[in-house]
């Protein structure tokens, strides 16, 4: 394992450990309001200061990392895998299956899925734990977010289908399934990874925007998304409010670095 890869994995593990430890150290540290100290500057007691309700920003950021660090990449991974399955098979096998997938993609990209999210939220019990709404939102984003990337993957697969190595494998008698799984998918890796790294922050921001419609974790549960909403008004930004942005960017960068480098297949 190369040094950058190791470093990235260590950073991710440290972030996750810090998030878990924050919850174990003091169960309500993210929720407790120090009402005499709203919007306080960083200090020894509050390294990142407090928010407008006097809550410890650092505690909230670490608490948010617990779930967001797992949910956002997991949802992005599911969406990418679904996109690979749909787009890859459509591009490779072609014919009626390709037509069906393309129509399905067009429909997925055109329908107002917001209403499905609202309907799903309405099904949750009122006293459901705050995390239930968050998990539901990310789950639906994962299931609905495959369409755009599937189209790109489909084009990539069609391009690779006509490549020399694929033709050679076919000429040598490899089955279509084997060519698809052993030769095409590995060569689609750059496209799939590009999709994954782009989707993680897109889902985090989507969760933040959906929070405006009540489709995220409710108070006082912090998520990366609702912490990023503090940045919506740049005039009230102080350096400490950029901390969630920095953590998100570092996490995504670490995920990228932690991925094994692409190998050439022929």
């Amino acid at each position: 394992m190369k040094k950058p890869q190791l470093l990235a994995i260590l950073v991710l593990a440290a972030l996750l450990a810090a998030g878990v430890a924050a919850g174990l150290w003091h169960a309500d540290s993210h929720a407790r309001q120090f009402r005499e100290l709203p919007s306080a500057r960083p200090s020894s007691t509050f390294p990142l200061g407090t928010d407008d309700l006097g809550r410890d920003r650092l505690a909230r950021l670490l608490y948010a990392t617990r779930l967001s660090l797992l949910l956002a990449p997991a949802a992005a991974l599911i969406a990418t895998l679904l996109a690979a399955l749909a787009g890859g098979t459509a591009g490779y096998f072609g014919g009626w299956w390709d037509n069906c997938i393309v129509r399905a993609i067009d429909l997925m990209l055109s329908l107002p899925w917001l209403f499905l999210l609202l309907a799903a939220r309405a099904l949750l019990p009122l006293n459901a734990p705050p995390v239930a709404s968050l998990v539901m939102t990310y789950g639906l984003l994962a299931v609905l977010g495959w369409a755009g990337p599937a189209r790109v993957i489909r084009a990539g697969t069609r391009h690779l289908r006509e490549s020399d190595f694929a033709l050679q494998a076919s000429a040598e008698g490899c089955s279509e399934l084997r060519i698809f799984s052993r030769h095409l998918i590995p060569n689609l890796k750059p496209v799939l990874l590009a999709q994954l790294w782009t989707t993680i922050p897109v889902f985090i921001l989507a969760e933040a925007n959906l929070g405006l419609l009540g489709l995220s974790a409710s108070e006082p549960f912090p998520t990366w998304g609702n912490l990023l909403r503090e940045l919506q008004n740049p005039f009230s930004i102080r350096p400490v409010t950029l901390a969630p942005l920095a953590v998100v960017m570092i996490s995504v960068a670490c995920f990228k670095l932690a991925t094994p480098p692409q190998e050439q297949h022929s």
């Binding site: 037509n99 393309v102 129509r103 067009d106 429909l107 990209l109 055109s110 329908l111 107002p112 899925w113 917001l114 209403f115 499905l116 609202l118 309907a119 939220r121 309405a122 755009g148 189209r151 790109v152 489909r154 084009a155 990539g156 069609r158 391009h159 006509e162 750059p190 496209v191 990874l193 590009a194 999709q195 790294w197 782009t198 922050p201 897109v202 985090i204 921001l205 933040a208 925007n209 990023l228 909403r229 940045l231 919506q232 008004n233 740049p234 005039f235 930004i237 942005l245 998100v248 960017m249 995504v252 960068a253």
Partner: protein
């Protein structure tokens, strides 16, 4: 002529079928969503019971999804009437006529600007050996991805920049990774390496050798860019109060405006399918060439 008809007829048929299915699914989604049947005006204590009843009757018309949809289709197909927006009380065709040019302009600027910016970031990242340059490009891309659109809108607005170009900042990071990977793969090909080693000008290599090899996949991505651009236009128009289709779609969603949402779905399906078909055809022709 017969050949053209033979080629276009199945595509038009598929387009119509997809639009029909899309419209029906939209109507169903809106109908089952919570808050469909309610009106904010019901909270006004000054309204009498008769007025409340009249408000409820306004919404009753759209309760039966199939009935509503059948009636709408009949009006559209036989009379070219897209209906009236229940939240804005104006003909939908008039709303589209006013707002389509705005969204078209925003999407055009967004796609052109987004792609240009993506290439401007990706090319140095691929061609330059400097880790600093590659790192800066990556950092800028990450920042654009992670910053909320509302913050970007205000920064652009406060700097006096064209707010309509905001969509470019939303599209750029979404295509950057693909473009960079495609270019990296293309530049790693033996004949490109040879051309560079032989001292061929960078611009010539890019235009005559790199671009043609990645064109089919870029064209596929371009087709998706239209969907991405429309999706990005919605929050940008809503945040910046640009009177386009995106803002209309957002307001229609909040107001559960069923006739308007179905009409917008038809529009989006038609535009998406036409653009994707065009990009597929261009890619096919490119591969043939």
């Amino acid at each position: 002529m017969r050949k053209i008809v033979k080629t276009l007829a199945p595509r038009i048929g598929t387009l119509a079928a997809t639009a029909l299915a899309g419209g029906l699914l939209t109507a169903f989604l809106v109908r089952v969503s919570p808050g469909f049947d309610v009106d904010e005006r019901q909270l006004d204590p000054r309204l009498s019971e008769a007025s409340r009843h009249a408000l409820q009757q306004e919404h009753a018309v759209n309760r039966n999804v199939l009935g509503f949809y059948t009636h709408r289709l009949e009006r559209i197909v036989l009379h070219g009437d897209l209906g009236t927006s229940s939240s804005l009380n104006r003909p939908i065709s008039q709303l589209f006529r006013e707002r389509l040019p705005v969204t078209a302009q925003i999407m055009a600027i967004g796609i052109a600007g987004g792609w240009t910016l993506a290439f401007a970031l990706a090319l140095p990242a691929v061609m330059c050996r400097s880790r600093v340059v590659r790192g800066m490009a990556g950092l800028f891309h990450q920042a654009l991805l992670c910053l909320p659109a509302a913050a970007l809108a205000l920064i652009v607005f406060d700097l006096g920049g064209p707010v309509r170009a905001l969509v470019a900042l939303v599209i750029c990071p979404r295509v950057f990774e693909y473009v960079r990977n495609l270019l990296a793969e293309a530049y790693a090909q033996p004949h490109i390496l040879t051309a560079r080693a032989k001292g061929l000008a960078g611009a010539r290599i890019f235009a005559r050798h790199v671009l043609p090899s990645v064109a089919p996949q870029l064209l596929a991505l371009a087709g998706v860019s239209v969907s991405i651009a429309f999706g990005a236009a919605i929050p940008v128009e809503a945040l910046c109060d640009l009177p386009g289709i995106g803002q209309l779609a957002w307001r229609a969603a909040i107001a559960r405006d069923l006739p308007l949402l179905v009409a917008i779905t038809f529009l989006v399906i038609v535009v998406t399918q036409v653009c994707n078909a065009a990009s597929d055809w261009a890619g096919f022709r490119r591969r043939q060439a």
